[in-house]
């Protein structure tokens, strides 16, 4: 058996070297596939006892127009194709794939967010603060845990729960209480902080 030349086919090379031909060929391919869809859908209708006059009544068209479209070469308006398929019990799907290297896919549904993702986005975070005294200065370490994190101020040695984070804002607005270093009593306040940072309280 003789060997086939490696690489793309004649058709692929013809398309690559002649963009105008490639465009016209794509149009011809799509029209042909549209005509196949129309014929196969109509065939299923015939088997189910549907008549052309039934389609004509729904689409408010003359029966001769129904015949014209069903026997066409498929080069019909997109809206016509879609309407005909729907009344015959089918739904048209459209898609496009990259034809040139480097083009990103288009028209694809974005990955659906899971319930867990959604909950995580909406959930608030707890803010803990640890007081550290060093060489006469008092420093506070702010630690932010997501609500789903299995910990609380009782299981974290030292830090005190001082408030909740607003998850929709950046930088993080901490709806919290100002931590009084002397009394260890939270006082109502709002501070801006990045996650897990050291804050110097002057």
């Amino acid at each position: 058996m003789t060997e086939l030349r490696k690489g793309s086919s004649w058709l692929e090379r013809a398309k690559a070297s002649n963009p105008s031909f490639a465009a016209e060929q794509s149009a011809a391919d799509v029209a042909l596939r549209a005509s196949v869809l129309l014929r196969e859908a109509w065939h299923e209708c015939e088997l189910a006892g549907v008549e052309r006059k039934d389609l004509a009544a729904i689409l408010e068209l003359d029966p001769s127009r129904i015949t014209q479209v069903l026997n066409s070469d498929g080069n019909v308006r997109l809206s016509t194709l879609s309407k005909f398929l729907v009344v015959m019990g089918y739904e048209l799907e459209l898609g496009a794939k990259p034809g040139i290297e480097g083009r990103k896919p288009i028209g694809r549904r974005k990955p659906r967010r899971t319930r867990a993702d959604s909950d995580q986005t909406k959930s608030s975070s707890s803010v803990y603060v640890s007081k550290i005294r060093h060489e006469g200065a008092t420093t506070f370490k702010w630690t932010v845990f997501d609500e789903s994190f299995p910990a609380d101020h009782e299981t974290i040695s030292g830090p005190h729960l001082v408030g909740q984070l607003d998850p929709d804002q950046e930088p993080l607005k901490i709806r919290t209480s100002r931590f009084d270093s002397k009394t260890s009593t939270p006082e109502p306040s709002t501070v801006t902080a990045a996650r897990d940072t050291w804050m110097e309280i002057s």
Binding site: L4, R5, W10, A14, A28
Partner: protein, 182 residues
């Protein structure tokens, strides 16, 4: 001797390949090259017009679309209800793709130097759920479809011109001989 793929796809039913004559030429591929430019002079539908001819280019787009569909699915888009058959069975194991009066004869082979002629399968049921259908169904051919001879069929003539028939057959024999000597 190198064969040229004309149309192929990863999960296609068939691969369409250019036939190679005894001199190493690929007449069908040359004809397709000319058609794509609208410069194929044997086209009866553009007789008397200046070349390149845009209508010939559009027609070859339809022809290639039909060939691609057939290679991909193993049946012609025109078969079935409301069909406009885009392949015909010829003689000697040859078939033809057609678009208007433009014809390209082809045959199928496993690449072993032999073409085993096949016929239409008049099966009950073109579609699985259509037991009453009596449409002709394209038979399962061998994987490689080789294009042998492109020709223009004279208008109003039902039969394939004998000269074109013999040219297509001669090219088939020359092409298969390459396989037998490889």
């Amino acid at each position: 001797m190198e064969r040229h793929s004309i149309i192929e796809g990863d999960d296609f039913e068939y691969k369409i390949v250019a036939c190679v004559d005894e001199h190493g030429q690929r007449p069908a591929e040359d004809a397709l090259d000319a058609m794509v430019r609208g410069e194929w002079g044997e086209d009866p539908e553009v007789a008397g017009t200046d070349l390149p001819n845009d209508e010939q280019i559009r027609a070859v787009n339809r022809l290639i679309a039909g060939m691609t569909f057939y290679a991909e699915h193993g049946y012609t888009a025109g078969l079935g209800p409301g069909r406009t058959v885009s392949i015909n069975k010829l003689r000697y194991g040859l078939w033809e793709f057609k678009e208007g009066n433009k014809r390209i004869a082809y045959f199928d082979t496993q690449g072993d130097g032999v073409c085993n002629p096949k016929s239409w399968q008049r099966e009950l049921g073109y579609f699985e759920n259509d037991p009453g259908s009596k449409d002709d169904v394209a038979p399962l051919l061998d994987f490689e479809l080789r294009l042998s001879h492109a020709f223009g069929k004279p208008p109003l003539q039902r039969k394939t011109p004998e000269q074109d028939m013999q040219t297509a057959r001669k090219l088939m024999e020359e092409d298969l001989a390459h396989d037998r000597t490889a």
